[in-house]
Structures are given as C-alpha cells and as structure tokens.
C-alpha cells in the first residue's frame, strides 16, 4: 500500500527537492526549520490513508517481554494441568480404578463420574430424602488420619486436602 503515488506536489524523489540531502548536513539543519512552513502547506493538501488501520498480532502486542509472557502462560497452565489421582474400590470387586479429583468441580460432578464408571447410583451426604431408597451404594473416603467417613459433609476444598482414597460400599447397612 504505497503512499508515493498519491502525494501531489513533491512526489518525485529527487534530492534537489530536499536541500538537506544535497550538501553538508550539519549546516543545513538550521535551514530545515524554515522549510516547515512549506512542508505544512504541502502536506495539508494530501490527506493520509486511514482506510486500513492495522490490527496487531499477539506475538508483538501488547509490548511485554517474552520472559514475562512465558511466566504468565506457565502460571495459567499449571492451574490447568495439576492432577490428583486417588484409588476407588467398589465393595466386592478386588480390582480398583483411579480417578482425578481435580478434574471435577465438586461433589455432584464426582458422583456423576462414579455412577457412570461403576454403573450404579451412589448415595452421599447431601442427597434429598426421597432419593435414598433408590441408591444401591454409598460413597465413603479414608482421610489422612485413617478414618472412614461418608463423602459430602465438608466443603469440597477441605475434602480435597484430606482425602486419601475412596470406597463404594453396598447401601444395605
């Protein structure tokens, strides 16, 4: 997108149009100041092309150094890629499964996955009264102190910091 063709007055790039280029530069610096009036007159005739304002790419805008970009991206990725796998056993089945707790938003999400994984419907602490009769299994967990508790009584984050493994036991207790 050249501008050269569209300018009116001094469009030819001859050095004679630009005194600064025809003799010793240092002494001409003063003379350049006097040209500013001519320049203003000449330039006010030709208008600029604002038709295509450029949109910058993410590789060079905004102007932050690559080392900071990398650090910010790494911090984001760490949040995405952290995992916390725990063992899950179903009573009566000797071979267990493993499940990434951090891939779930909370208890509801976890129960949904387990229901699907073990092809059953699982009871946990926060379920409504009338659903109880439908459940075949109960979800329990072993905490850091070795005690077995029903899943769902404590906030999700607290559960994540204390759970060691999960067990799905039969509901006919």
């Amino acid at each position: 997108m050249g501008r050269g063709g569209s300018t009116s007055s001094s469009s030819s790039l001859e050095s004679s149009n630009y005194p600064a280029l025809t003799s010793r530069s240092s002494s001409l610096y003063q003379q350049n100041r006097d040209l500013s009036t001519d320049l203003r007159l000449g330039l006010s005739i030709s208008t600029s092309q604002q038709g295509n304002p450029s949109i910058p790419s993410e590789s060079d805008w905004p102007p932050i150094k690559p080392i900071l970009k990398k650090a910010l991206a790494a911090e984001e990725n760490e949040c995405d890629s952290a995992t916390f796998f725990v063992k899950v056993y179903m009573e009566g089945i000797p071979i267990g499964r493993k499940l990434d707790l951090l891939a779930h938003d909370g208890y509801h999400d976890l129960i949904r996955t387990l229901n699907h994984m073990f092809n059953t419907s699982i009871l946990w602490a926060e379920m409504d009264g009338d659903e109880h009769s439908e459940q075949n299994h109960v979800l329990t967990y072993e905490d850091k102190e070795g005690d077995w508790l029903i899943v769902g009584d404590v906030p999700w984050e607290m559960f994540l910091s204390s759970v060691r493994r999960l067990k799905i036991t039969r509901a006919d207790i």
Partner: protein
C-alpha cells in the same frame, strides 16, 4: 589557553582525569586540545558503545588501548517485543576476538540484546586472566556449556548476571564447575534459567563466598530449600527467591521466617513465582527496610498485595502485576512516600475484557501521594485526558513516562476524544522528561505538543498514532535532544524523513516498522548521507523487486563511523551508494 594546558605535566593531568568517570565528561575532556585527547585516550578505562554497529572493534582499540570495562548494546529496543526477526545481527564474537589480544587485562563485559555464543564465552574464559564481571542482559545464543567454561576458569569472577537472557538450558550441572577454591562471588543472577541446579552445589557455593550480596535464584529452586540458602548468606542485600509456593507447613514457615529475619541487610526482593499468600508473612519482618520489590511473577490478589505494600514504608521501586488494582495503588500512595519508580504489568495481556479493577485512577493516586515518583511504566485498559493532566500537574519531576493501553487507538473513554491533550500536558509540565511512550488514540496534534515542549526528551516510542507526515516532522524538528525514536504502525511516509535527514545523524537510531516509507526514499537517504546506515528489512524478498514507491516493512537507521555492516541476514539490505546502484 593552549599554553596553560600544555604546561601541566602529563602525569598530573592523568591523575586529574582519573577522577572523571562519566562518558560525556571524558568525551568533553578529549575535545579540549590534541594533547588532552592523547592523554585521555591512554587512561580511559571504561567504554560504552550504545550501538555495536556504530563503531568497529579495531577503531575502538586503536583509540583506547588500556580499557578494563566494556559495555555494548546490539539489537534495537523493539527486539524485546518480537519485532526484529531472528538472525538480524548483534554478534559479540568479533568484539571478543579483537579484545582477547588487545585487552588482556579486561575485567568487565556488559552486553545488552546481543547474540553471545558458547565460543564467545569460552574465549572470554580463557583470554582475560583478571576477569571480574559478566552481565548478559536480554542476550541469546549461548548454552549452559558456555556458563560452565566461565565458572571453571574465571578465578576472580565477582559478578555473573544473566538477567532475562534466553539460555539453551542443557543442564544445571554448570554451577558445579565453580571450583571449591573459588570464593570471590559477589553477585549471581540465574533467574532466567529453567533447569534445576544442584542444590547442594548452590548451598556450598553460597556458603563459601562471604562477599555475596546479590543472589537471584531461578524458579526451579523450591521454597523449602530457601531457608537453608539464606542461613548461609545472612549478609545478602538483594535476593530473588525461586518458586514461592508450597503446601502450608508450620515448620517450613517458621524456618523461612527465621531465615528472613536473620538477613538484616536485605533491601531488594524479587522472584516469587506462583506465590501463595500463606507464605507472604514470612517476609513481613524485613518489609519496613525494603527499597525494591519485584512482584512481576507473583499471581497474588489485591488484598494480599495491599497488605504487603502497606508495610514497605521505605519502598523506592515497585514492579507488580495489575492484580494490585486501584485499591492497592491507593495503599501504595498512602504508605510508601519514598516511591521513585512504579511498573504495573498486565496479568492477562490478551484478554479483551478487564480481569481486574485497575484503571487510570490507580496511577493518579500514586502520582498524588508519592512526591518522588519520577519513573512510570503502566499497562491499563482505559485512560482519560483529565487523568493524564492531573498526573502531569502532580508530578512535574517525571523523567520516564511509559503508558500502554492494551487496546490500540483507544480514545479517552469518557469524552471519546484523542489523548492528545493529556500527553500534551505531560510534556508541558514535565520539563525534564527524558523518555516517553504513548498510547491510545493520538493525532498529529500530540506530536506538535511534543515538538514544542519536550526539549529534554531523549527516547520516544510511538505505536498506532498520528495522521500524516506532519506528526513525524514535529518530532524530528522540535526535539533537540532526541537520541532514539521507535515507531510502529503509524502513517508516516517519506517527506518528514527526507526533510529532516540531517537530524538523523544527531541521533543514535530510528526504527520504523509497518509505516509508509518507500523504498525509493530509503535509497535516497542511504546514498546521500554517508555516515548513516539505512537498513531495510523485508521478509517478502528484495525491495528492488517491487516498485520504488512500495513501502518497506521495517526500517532501521543509525549513525555510524564504521560504514555498512557485512553480517546481515538475507532479509536485511543496507542502502548506500554502491548497493543503491546495484539494486535499482
């Protein structure tokens, strides 16, 4: 006058000159008369070359035969933002090779934005017996093998600073190359390295160097090892932590807090990758004496940031992410009355919508509350002319003002006007302004203000601004002290450049990319002004294969006494008398 000058014996003059360190003063001395020039050149010990292509190694060596300290800068500043393609240049090897024979007593090498190879590092390691200081700022091209050579051979090394360089990180083993007998380390900055160094080697190194005052660790050093390192160096003045994140454990916390309390001289902190709020209180005891705090990698939120800065009453420099928000900056303004420099970086630079409540108000608060504030770098998403004018009136002592609004060409968000008047107020009130970066919607008027008022301005950065060549003309004809001008994505063409061609010889360099300067104008400039290198960068192919009126992609013009360079890659052409004839 001349008689007086030559009546002093040389030894006396040399002794007097030895008290003069500043380059400008030294240059002035050398211009008094021929004999002073001669005496001065033999006793100049430190040289600074702002553009490594402005002069050649043999020229420097011929004039200054007894140099002990060299500082060189290579690529243009916009290389920091990926605007200079790979392979452009800035190779340091020719300098090292020439200095290896000419300056066997060289002690210090400081490089910025240069390509440094392992060969160059190995040559440094074996050529300079009294080598003391190596600073590689934003450099690239070398690996940890080169560092191993430095560590193994430089017996008198005091400073090894790799700030922000891109290193080919083969392994952390290089650190173990410092021999057991090596004890002279004063400053070590490895914060840019990715791989793990041997922690026991690091601890032993720190433990046996009693003069260590600066230690900037890399992210791979875990938090639970920090206390041990600190206990071995309680005399530290500047510390960069590694990862500042771990499971909250009382014993780890208490040994860390204890270690920090033991460092009574600590004045500067940095690092803090992945910082967790739970471990921040470990540094509270030393906060009141901190003068410099770099939290650019700390993703902690505004409540914790506010609590932290409120305790740092001696703070002079703060670098932080925009998580600090306006509320944190208000606390900064209230508690940190000695603040001189503030940099606020964007936590989510590519998000369209703001993720934090950081606006123009935060900067206004700091400008009101901190009377010594003179250096600002601020990334935000909105600005007004009023806010800029308030900042200007509050802080006429501002010397460096760099604003970046994430959205290019963003107007005053309240009046929807360009930000011309706001920046006009900045240059009008801040008479000592040396460096300016502008942002937002700007017309030719802002350049008129700059040309009229910014008489002390030395460096100007412009992006997505202006309407016509008049804008560029105002700057080139009005800013008497302009040394560096960098422009991207502005509608500036041939006229202003050609009319002000003589000005270019008084500046260090001019960068223009994605503007409208034609190939023909570049050829003309290159032909007519011999002491300028006019370099055209175009990855589309030779500029001669397109019409003369076609604008070039990138243009880098710099003054030089060394003539055109010969180490250019295929996408860079120098416009001079010979090449212009060859290309047309």
């Amino acid at each position: 006058m001349l008689r007086m000058a030559s009546s002093f014996p040389e030894e006396v003059l040399e002794h007097v000159f030895s008290f003069i360190y500043d380059d400008k003063d030294r240059n002035a001395i050398s211009m008094v008369c021929k004999s002073w020039y001669e005496i001065e050149r033999w006793c100049r010990r430190r040289i600074f070359v702002g553009n490594c292509y402005a002069v050649s190694p043999p020229m420097v060596i011929r004039r200054f035969p007894e140099v002990r300290s060299v500082e060189l800068k290579g690529k243009p500043h916009f290389a920091d933002f990926n605007l200079v393609p790979e392979g452009w240049g800035g190779y340091v090897y020719p300098w090292i090779a020439a200095m290896a024979t000419a300056y066997p007593w060289l002690e210090e090498i400081r490089l910025k934005r240069m390509v440094v190879t392992d060969e160059a590092l190995e040559l440094i390691a074996k050529s300079f017996k009294n080598f003391k200081v190596l600073v590689l700022s934003s450099c690239e091209g070398f690996s940890t093998d080169g560092l191993a050579a430095i560590a193994a051979n430089c017996r008198n090394l005091k400073e090894l600073d790799l700030r922000e360089s891109e290193v080919d990180d083969l392994s952390g083993h290089w650190l173990s190359h410092f021999p057991d007998s090596y004890t002279s380390l004063v400053s070590l900055n490895i914060s840019c390295l990715g791989s793990e160094v041997s922690f026991s080697a690091l601890e032993r190194l720190v433990g046996r160097c009693p003069n260590l005052r600066t230690l900037r660790l890399n992210r791979a050093v875990p938090l639970d090892r920090l206390a041990n390192i600190l206990c071995r160096a309680p005399q530290l003045v500047e510390l960069g932590t590694g990862t500042y994140s771990a499971e909250l454990q009382p014993d780890v916390f208490s040994s860390l807090a204890g270690a920090f309390s033991g460092c009574k001289e600590l004045r500067s902190l940095s690092g803090f990758w992945d910082a967790v709020p739970g471990y921040l209180p470990a540094i509270y005891p030393i906060c009141p004496s901190l003068t410099s705090l770099n939290l650019s990698y700390a993703t902690i939120q505004s409540t914790d940031l506010t609590k932290l800065v409120s305790q740092c009453q001696s703070l002079q420099r703060l670098w932080v992410l925009d998580y600090i928000e306006d509320i944190g900056l208000e606390a900064l303004a209230a508690f940190c009355k000695d603040l001189r420099e503030l940099r606020v970086f964007p936590s989510e630079p590519f998000a369209q919508e703001p993720n934090v409540s950081l606006t123009e108000q935060g900067l206004v608060s700091v400008s009101e509350g901190c009377p010594k504030l003179h250096s600002v770098l601020y990334f935000c998403r909105q600005m007004t002319n009023d806010a800029l004018a308030t900042i200007a009136r509050n802080r006429p002592n501002m010397t460096r003002f760099r604003l970046c609004i994430i959205e290019p060409r963003a107007p005053d968000y309240i009046t929807l006007q360009p930000l011309d008047d706001g920046f006009g107020a900045i240059v009008e009130h801040c008479k000592d302004l040396q460096r300016l970066s502008m942002a937002g919607l700007l017309t030719d008027r802002v350049f008129e203000h700059i040309g009229n008022h910014a008489k002390k301005l030395e460096m100007l950065s412009v992006a997505f601004a202006g309407d016509s060549d008049l804008g560029l003309h105002h700057v080139l004809s009005g800013c008497e002290n302009l040394r560096k001008l960098e422009i991207r994505d502005c509608p500036f063409g041939d006229k202003a450049l050609l009319v002000n061609a003589a000005k270019l010889e008084t500046m260090r360099s001019l960068w223009m990319s994605s503007c409208s300067v034609s190939f023909g104008a570049c050829k003309l400039l290159g032909q007519k002004i011999p002491r300028l290198n006019v370099e055209v960068m175009d990855e589309r192919g030779p500029p001669g294969s397109r019409p003369e009126s076609c604008p070039v992609e990138k243009l880098y013009i710099y003054r030089t006494v060394a003539g055109p360079r010969f180490d250019m890659p295929g996408f860079v052409w120098t416009m001079d008398e010979d090449s212009a004839l060859r290309l047309s």
